[in-house]
């Protein structure tokens, strides 16, 4: 059957199971938007292409499917770039479509021509420039496959306008031939045996669970491994939820703002089991002194991540779930009572210092807000965040018991990610409670997307922790720049009036006693709601490992201010 290239795009999207696309129209992509009207695919008009890419990313992480964003050529395409880089660094499967000038004008600087495949080469898993309608079906099928398989990531398809308009015979390819792309699944059996030996010899093992656990769907396998071998589990920011926070073997988050006892366990470990994580500098701190007495086993699908930052003793290259299934029958039950005892001691000491045991009368602490928010949502909300202190507090005090409940920009640390990714997550799970915990700075980077939420009737709740600062940068200035607050004081708009202008119900809270009521108000009000908490302005995230310091050399919350008995 003859179809235009634009129709072929839609035919392929329908076959990939795509139901929603986030995008922004423009001249070079008009034929695709036009054809969309004839297909059962909902287009969400964001207010900026960056928001479309973030929303596609949020959708992908919440649904486990591929998210789709679409934009026109030139500025439309370049506006996607930060979103694509964000997806790349967090291995998030999105496919981005961009319009391009007609093929015969390529390279001539025609109106709104930019070399977007060139620009996105280093920030995509793969990209395509399509100049002929005949090639579209093949390319789109490949793109979705590449985006979601192996180590997932963003793929961009730049389509010349003539390739959208031309009518050609449409045939959906039966299968894909990508001879250079064959992600590994099973690890080498010999290496499995070496790993089993190290595991049996370990006295102080720690599992490091990364994003890979959730991406490969290995949470059950992780839990089984941990329980059978009696191995505690530290998690990366994107790994939170791999093992329930309430599980006795959970050490919570590791790294720069991780739990002190988690970092102490890593530094004193004699065997690290890295599951689908990549030893990012935010989790290792000083590499030279990282886990000095530990042997290391790395299970990882991307061979270029192995030995990259940390040399390991055994590398198991392949799909984590497959490998954990393969290794399970080879494992003997472990017994590490002494080690777990030691960790409990560290943990008690950490908890005594924790801000949760601080009084809450005078100032409103962000940590308290997040803690109350966690309790009132039963730990069951999908939480997206911006980037900064609020992101760390969300990670520290919302106890994630399930995978993909935290959706946050980890590798790139991209401010502005919170609201649009929440909108994307809502399209994946309209039945679930979706919140974004945002900073006043991060929120202002994506605040136009409030209109998107309103237009779509998206049931997303926006919790702003307003400290009138670019707080995380301010914290660094406090610690490392003698409190010289350069470019960090931040005047926001009146968020109540702003919300009103958008037709969004809103509440402002400045005392702890009102925290919960506002959350309930948001939960009981359909559609988007803004809750602004006026929090302590010069609060800091603890513990903190300074850049370049050793992982267990942490700046701790000053103990002097602390109250002995925990507050209710």
């Amino acid at each position: 059957m003859k179809k235009t290239g634009a129709e072929i795009v839609l035919e392929c999207l329908v076959r990939e199971g795509v139901e929603v696309i986030f995008g922004y129209p423009g001249g070079a992509i008009m034929p695709v938007h036009d054809a969309m009207l004839r297909y059962p695919i909902h287009h969400v008009l964001t207010r900026h292409e960056q928001g479309a890419a973030f929303a596609a990313d949020g959708y992908a992480r919440a649904s486990g499917k591929v998210g789709v964003a679409i934009a026109t050529s030139g500025p439309g395409a370049t506006n996607l770039v930060t979103g694509i880089a964000t997806a790349m660094l967090d291995s998030s499967p999105i496919v981005c479509f961009t319009g391009q000038v007609p093929a015969h004008l390529l390279g001539g600087d025609a109106f709104q021509e930019t070399d977007v495949t060139g620009i996105t080469l280093p920030i995509t898993k793969h990209n395509y420039l399509v100049t002929r309608a005949e090639d579209l079906a093949q390319v789109i099928q490949e793109a979705f496959f590449i985006a979601r398989s192996g180590r997932p990531g963003p793929v961009l398809i730049d389509i010349c306008k003539n390739a959208q308009l031309d009518e050609v015979e449409f045939e959906y390819p039966e299968d894909i031939s990508l001879p250079g792309y064959r992600p590994p699944s099973h690890a080498d059996p010999a290496h499995l045996e070496e790993a089993v030996k190290l595991i049996a010899e370990a006295k102080r093992p720690v599992i490091l669970a990364g994003h890979g656990v959730q991406m490969s769907g290995a949470t059950a396998q992780l839990r089984e491994f941990s329980e059978k071998t009696q191995t505690p589990v530290g998690m990366t920011l994107l790994g939170l939820g791999s093992l329930p926070a309430s599980h006795p073997f959970s050490l919570g988050m590791m790294g720069m703002h991780g739990n002190a006892y988690c970092n102490q366990a890593i530094q004193n470990s004699d065997l690290l089991l890295a599951f689908g994580m990549r030893f990012d500098d935010r989790v290792t701190a000083n590499l030279r002194t990282y886990a000095p007495r530990a042997r290391k086993i790395h299970i990882e699908i991307d061979p270029s991540e192995v030995h990259k930052n940390v040399k390991v003793d055994v590398a198991l290259i392949g799909d984590l779930k497959t490998i954990l299934n393969d290794i399970a029958p080879l494992l003997d039950p472990g017994d590490h009572e002494e080690w777990l005892e030691q960790i409990s001691e560290w943990r008690e000491e950490s908890e005594a210092r924790d801000i949760l045991s601080w009084p809450s009368e005078e100032k409103l602490h962000s940590a308290h807000v997040v803690q109350d928010f966690w309790q009132h949502t039963g730990g069951d909300a999908i939480v997206t965040t911006g980037v900064g202190q609020h992101q760390m507090w969300a990670a520290q005090y919302y106890n994630f018991d399930q995978p993909y409940r935290l959706i946050t920009s980890g590798g790139a640390g991209t401010m502005g990610f919170g609201l649009p990714s929440a909108i994307g997550a809502w399209f994946a799970h309209p039945d679930k409670e979706i919140w974004t915990i945002d900073g006043d700075g991060s929120f202002q980077m994506s605040l136009p997307e409030l209109a998107t939420a309103v237009q779509e009737g998206a049931n997303v709740k926006i919790l702003i922790l307003n400290n009138n600062f670019l707080g995380m940068v301010r914290q660094w200035q406090e610690f490392f720049f003698d409190k010289r607050y350069a470019a960090t004081p931040l005047t926001g708009p009146d968020f109540m009036k702003l919300a009103e202008a958008y037709g969004v119900p809103a509440k402002r809270v400045s005392e702890r006693k009102d925290v919960a009521a506002a959350i309930e108000f948001a939960r009981n009000t359909p559609g988007p709601v803004v809750i602004e908490y006026l929090v302590e302005e010069e609060d800091s995230v603890y513990p903190m490992v300074a850049a370049g310091a050793d992982l267990d050399d942490m700046i701790r919350r000053p103990i002097t201010k602390q109250k002995t008995a925990p507050a209710d």
Binding site: L121, P122, D175, Y181, R182, P183, P184, A187, S304, I317
Partner: protein, 179 residues
């Protein structure tokens, strides 16, 4: 020390750019990079030479495999291989000097491929060492211009190169994916 890798890549537009971009981004220092056609019209072949004390061939290989268009990578450093470089060297030469240059060329099994009134072009193919040797002797005669292709390499007989990351490109899995 020199490291030599052979990469087979899909013969598609932009693949060289992807490889070059990868090397730049990952800060891999390339001594020479040669790309050419092969017995299979769908496949191009790259010979990548890296120089330096801390070249990590494994890392380069693993990163190359991240590119969807890279089919196979082998490390042929210190393996039984034929490695050749081709150089064209233009040397200043008055008619009196020609015989001397021809003599040198002969010894190195090089050829004089062009003669102009005051210069000649010498063509030499061979290993790095051999070419360097000739260049050294020609230097005093005033080299006007020189171009080298960079090395190309081929393993002898059936000998396989080293694959540092077995399974990296799913080597033990079927070539065609069905969805």
């Amino acid at each position: 020390m020199q490291n030599t890798l052979i990469a087979k890549v899909e013969n598609k537009p932009g693949v060289l750019n992807r490889v070059a971009s990868l090397f730049r981004r990952r800060n891999f220092n390339i001594e020479s990079l040669n790309v050419g056609r092969t017995e299979n019209p769908d496949v191009s072949r790259m010979t990548i030479v890296m120089e330096g004390p801390d070249v990590d061939a494994r890392k380069v290989e693993a990163n190359l495999y991240k590119l969807v268009n890279v089919l196979d990578v082998q490390d042929v450093t210190n393996q039984p291989a034929v490695i050749r470089d081709l150089a064209l060297i233009k040397v200043k030469s008055t008619p009196e000097h020609r015989a001397e240059i021809a003599n040198l060329a002969n010894i190195f099994r090089a050829k004089i491929v062009d003669v102009a009134p005051d210069s000649v072009i010498v063509e030499i193919a061979g290993t790095e060492d051999k070419i360097e040797g000739l260049i050294e002797l020609l230097l005093p005669m005033d080299i006007v211009e020189m171009v080298r292709t960079g090395q190309v390499a081929m393993l002898r007989g059936e000998a396989p190169g080293i694959r540092h990351t077995p399974g990296a490109n799913g080597n033990n899995q079927p070539k065609h994916y069905k969805k």
